[in-house]
């Protein structure tokens, strides 16, 4: 039982990070109806930014976080202004192609700036040990959990209670109506990209603190992609729940099923996707996706 609870707890902490990355996807999906292929690359950039600020510049954690967020905001604004604004009114496919281009550019940039090799910064993030009975929260994850919970909470409040959040939700429904209400959609888009970048960068720092950074880290985007499908492509709450579920499934699969396999592992990476396929077959909108309202 302790083993199981332990797996659940570490699964939860990993799942929160997945949820954070998935929220980045959902926000872009809601406003542009396009999958942002580069979301995983924002995470990778975040990991490298964490390395630069924490290790190279020796900044404290809070300052590194703020600095990375500042970079992310600039990044989001530039991305929107330079690459996506010219595509307004173009088919969704054009936007998706652009995000593929962005992904490639970020990969090149990261190699150019930080070099291709693996950078580790374990132990730089403060470790806080928390024990509940015999279960311990993985110390390097605790700060990650806190940061992601706070970020997610801020985002939920932003969407629910602020004017900008309302404008973003309205834009996701009907761009033309929103413009006739006097809202500039370009501002809404810029805000969406900024949030996607910030969320990606924050999760990159958390993940980097646990497992180090390399260019291939962007593949975590693929897992978050699965989270998005599971949670329903336009539901932030769904992304959070699906993210946590996926993190736990991954850990449970690794803990119980891997030892049974002849090769001795590898199931952790496949098992969540199998579950997702099953869910999608029975609930194509995902668990919490909005169903089209159809009046008869």
């Amino acid at each position: 039982m302790t083993f199981f609870l332990q797996l659940i707890v570490s699964g939860f902490s990993l799942g929160m990070v997945y949820a954070l990355i998935a929220i980045g996807f959902v926000i872009i999906l809601k406003c542009s109806k396009a999958f942002n292929i580069a979301q995983g690359h924002f995470v990778m950039i975040g990991g490298y930014l964490g390395f630069t600020f924490l290790v190279t510049f020796h900044l404290p954690v809070w300052a590194s976080l703020l600095a990375a967020i500042a970079v992310a905001i600039v990044m989001g604004l530039l991305i929107e202004r330079l690459t996506l604004r010219p595509l307004i009114g173009q088919p969704v496919l054009a936007v998706i192609m652009m995000t593929i281009a962005l992904a490639t550019v970020f990969e090149g940039l990261a190699t150019l700036i930080w070099g291709g090799e693996y950078k580790a910064y374990h132990g730089v993030l403060p470790t806080i040990t928390l024990r509940i009975g015999e279960i311990s929260v993985p110390p390097e994850m605790l700060i990650g959990i806190m940061v992601s919970v706070v970020t997610v909470a801020i985002l939920m409040l932003l969407f629910r209670y602020t004017k900008s959040g309302l404008a973003m939700r309205a834009t996701a429904e009907d761009e033309q109506v929103v413009q006739s209400a006097g809202i500039r959609v370009t501002t809404v888009y810029a805000l969406s990209w900024v949030i996607a970048c910030v969320v990606g960068v924050i999760s990159g720092i958390i993940l980097g603190g646990v497992s180090g950074v390399m260019v291939g880290m962007s593949q975590v985007g693929l897992k978050a992609f699965a989270v998005v499908l599971l949670g329903g492509v336009n539901s932030i709450g769904g992304a959070i729940i699906a993210g946590i579920t996926l993190g736990m499934l991954e850990n449970i699969a690794a803990g119980y099923l891997d030892p049974l396999l002849p090769a001795g592992g590898g199931l952790a990476n496949i098992f969540p996707f199998i579950v997702i396929i099953i869910v999608l077959v029975f609930r194509p909108h995902g668990l919490f996706g909005l169903v089209e309202i159809e009046r008869i």
Partner: protein, 264 residues
């Protein structure tokens, strides 16, 4: 207040839909824009509100002035901020937002919270049915309720001029009457000028001060609403009444088909 001077509108640089449309809306007036499908009524409205630019249309000739400023180069959001609020055809509620949120979206540019709140109360006063549903998801409202919501929503922007595109579309006659009475009240009590696009000529001319009739992208006839109501061509082609004033008998349609005089 609003002058449309001889505008031409072209979609995708090739399809010309308006060929010189001029019209005027005075302060606090209700002006009706009538015409059959494809006459160019909606395009005229979209040219005024700037929404044309969001669907690859362009004003290629003429000019549009609002309160002394030329607005035909402005973006839809800027025009809306100047005080022109369009109620688009087909209701277009923001389905997954609540009724109240739908109203608040249109108050986005307004800073004074207290006034926004007052305006919301005003909207609820005009549409008590909407008030009862304020926390509901608007996509599940009935057609009449949605139409009321979108008219109320346009009011939330505190506009000087409201552009209404077919508020009677798909509604039962009794509801049409109800909505028209409210439009008339809004015009009288809130001093909002209204440009009303309609197929339902009887309803529109019933409350308008002035009317324009469009065909094939041109204004073919205009005049005070009373004069249009008495015009025999309008009665025949837009109100379905024969010259005598009785309901038209469709038995006679084949024998004699009146020719529109303005085509001569």
């Amino acid at each position: 207040m609003l002058q449309v001077n001889n505008i031409e509108v072209t979609y995708m640089n090739i399809i010309q839909v308006l060929r010189g449309v001029s019209l005027e809306v005075g302060d606090g007036k209700i002006v009706a824009l009538l015409g059959a499908n494809g006459a160019g009524k909606t395009s005229t409205l979209k040219a005024i509100s700037g929404l044309l630019k969001t669907e690859e249309g362009e004003v290629t000739g003429g000019s549009i002035n609002f309160d002394g400023k030329r607005i035909d180069r402005f973006s839809a959001a800027d025009i809306a901020a100047m005080g022109i609020s369009q109620v688009m055809e087909g209701r277009r509620v923001l389905g997954h937002l609540s009724v109240e949120e739908n109203l608040l979206v249109f108050a986005h540019n307004r800073k004074d919270r207290k006034e926004v709140k007052n305006d919301m109360e005003m909207v609820f006063e005009y549409f008590p049915k909407v008030k009862a549903l304020r926390r509901q998801m608007s996509g599940y409202l009935s057609g009449g309720e949605q139409q009321m919501l979108v008219i109320g929503r346009a009011l939330m922007a505190s506009p000087k001029l409201m552009l209404l595109d077919e508020p009677s579309l798909g509604l039962a006659p009794l509801l049409v009457q109800e909505i028209y009475e409210i439009i008339q009240r809004i015009n009288a009590e809130q001093k909002k000028a209204i440009l009303l696009v309609e197929q339902n000529a009887v309803a529109a001319l019933g409350i308008a001060d002035y009317g324009y009739v469009m065909e094939n992208g041109r204004v073919v006839l205009s005049g005070p609403a009373g004069m249009l109501r008495d015009n025999e061509d309008i009665r025949e082609f837009y109100m379905g009444l024969s010259a005598v004033g009785s309901q038209k008998s469709y038995r006679e349609v084949k024998h004699y088909r009146r020719r529109k005089r303005w085509l001569a």
